[in-house]
Symmetry: C2
Amino acid sequence: MARPSRAVISRAPTLDDVARAAGLSSMTVSRALNTPDQVRPETVKRVLAAVKATGYIPNALAGGLASRRSKLVAVLVPHINDPLFADTLQAMGETLSQRGYQMLLCSAGYTPQTETELVSTLMSRRPDGIVLTGIHHANDLKKIIFNASVPVVETWDITPTPIDMLVGFSHEKAGQATAEYLLGKGYRRPGLVWTTERTAAQRKNGLYEGLARHGITDVPCVESQLPARFADGRAGAAQLLETTESDVIICGSDTLAQGAISELQARGLRVPQDVAVMGFGDLDFAAANVPSITTIALDRRAIGARAATLLANRIEGRSDGEQIIDIGFHLTERESA
Amino acid sequence: MARPSRAVISRAPTLDDVARAAGLSSMTVSRALNTPDQVRPETVKRVLAAVKATGYIPNALAGGLASRRSKLVAVLVPHINDPLFADTLQAMGETLSQRGYQMLLCSAGYTPQTETELVSTLMSRRPDGIVLTGIHHANDLKKIIFNASVPVVETWDITPTPIDMLVGFSHEKAGQATAEYLLGKGYRRPGLVWTTERTAAQRKNGLYEGLARHGITDVPCVESQLPARFADGRAGAAQLLETTESDVIICGSDTLAQGAISELQARGLRVPQDVAVMGFGDLDFAAANVPSITTIALDRRAIGARAATLLANRIEGRSDGEQIIDIGFHLTERESA
DNA sequence: TTGTAAGCGTTATCAA
DNA sequence: TTGATAACGCTTACAA
């Protein structure tokens, strides 16, 4: 049964609807919207008016299918609610958005296993690029990415042999720098409150190496869950105090450090006079804490922004310059150690 | 010119490639992958083998275009790096992932203006659902959503007239509860360290109302930027102490409260004996802080999980039960006030 | 249970 | 500068 002629069209307006409204072909409308330079200014105006009149919103599914460019970037982080990654994500989202890309975000947990499954699912969206956290990935994952030949940026770590591009820094060097700084300050009995995460483990390696070089071994270490919380820092420090006589507590993150400081203060110990505390990450509270937290500062936003830029440039065919970016770190001396 | 038969196919394998490899039609392969119950078990096996052999990864762009279901949920939050939202996002991502949806995440800033633009862009992905933060949205935005007739969940606030579905709680009631609690505790000279965000403003309204009922007006308030940081809490408390004689500092978030407490302690003031401090959000450090922070506890993860469930159910046509969920809040008495 | 045909709403390509 | 036509890779609807 035919509908009455003034029937309301229930489906969303398409390019064809706009074309009809403007008295043009759909191809011209498409050009007016995507490459206005190739269309007469008057025509563009007509199209824009028709777009407004019809309430047209492009269908990126169809567009992506036809053009083989989805304008989508898949981002994998261990945890969205880990404050270390939060600023990176925020900056990445901003930069991607400016460049016309949207962010498909997944939390992958901290195991290569789940990461591979997720990437596989994400690939079905045909993203124009992928952002990975860390440099340790399952071989399956690399194979998938290689077969799809999609640009990748690995972040938050560094290696001379990334899958593709990279923005990060050396966790081992950060660990070593920490060891040297603290030894230079005269601390000799360090204790660790650490997390089980992979990059954290590398920092620990660097740290142990640096300490061992000065004959300090058998360093006690309390491990806590992820993401690291204030309470874990307190508990970790408490546990350390019960079993050892540390003169400095080195923490896997500023959050842990803040908790550790709190625990020490609660026990009437002065920081750093009685026990010093070292953090990692330079989170927003580190500078304002009492005492302020000596830590490894990172430009976390830069990781996100530069990763996004690297990806966007590559996608758009102008990948000039270095594809491995070491954003470095800066040991920031404050009051706590 | 015909290619040699053993030519390497450079493009990604399609359903047709799998079908050819399995000696079946592409439709049967599609069924074997999406609705295996409708296909003979043997056939499914053959398909799965062919999928593995070819390295096939479905094209969700094509699938979404044909089926009109994108399996995508667009999520808008003011800031990704605001710790209040982080747990909500994490839980939402987990639930969506379990239900087979992926999360398109955008930070919208805190203005309805940018939000509308973003939603417009996001709609081009034809998401199956949308998650919004807050209940105050531009009319344009509502129109876009209404025209597209896409399910929406508003979060982190409550109203009897949501656009569609809602998971949140009453900020005004939270403010009132805070006022009543503190008045009951005997505090009479409150000072505020607050943020400029919309829901925070509503809590302030509720708070002022509750205070006014007991004759307390002219409450001093220091406003700080978003997202609220520890340092802002310190600065806010400092400013308050200079100008007034508060017996309790009420903070717009636990982060601010933690900073405020730190500032008071740095000045040799005891919390709560000299000045009390009240927080909001029950962030992970609130219970472990010294002193522990009296705050408004929310099930932030529940907001994310329930919003995701609501959306998934609606999309899948089984939207039973309430569509407006008040997750409530709980004033948690601790040491700081 | 499996297959055929016709879209889904764009863009690439070539022609006018 | 504009238009016609054929993909893009999948699913819906219907047929066998």
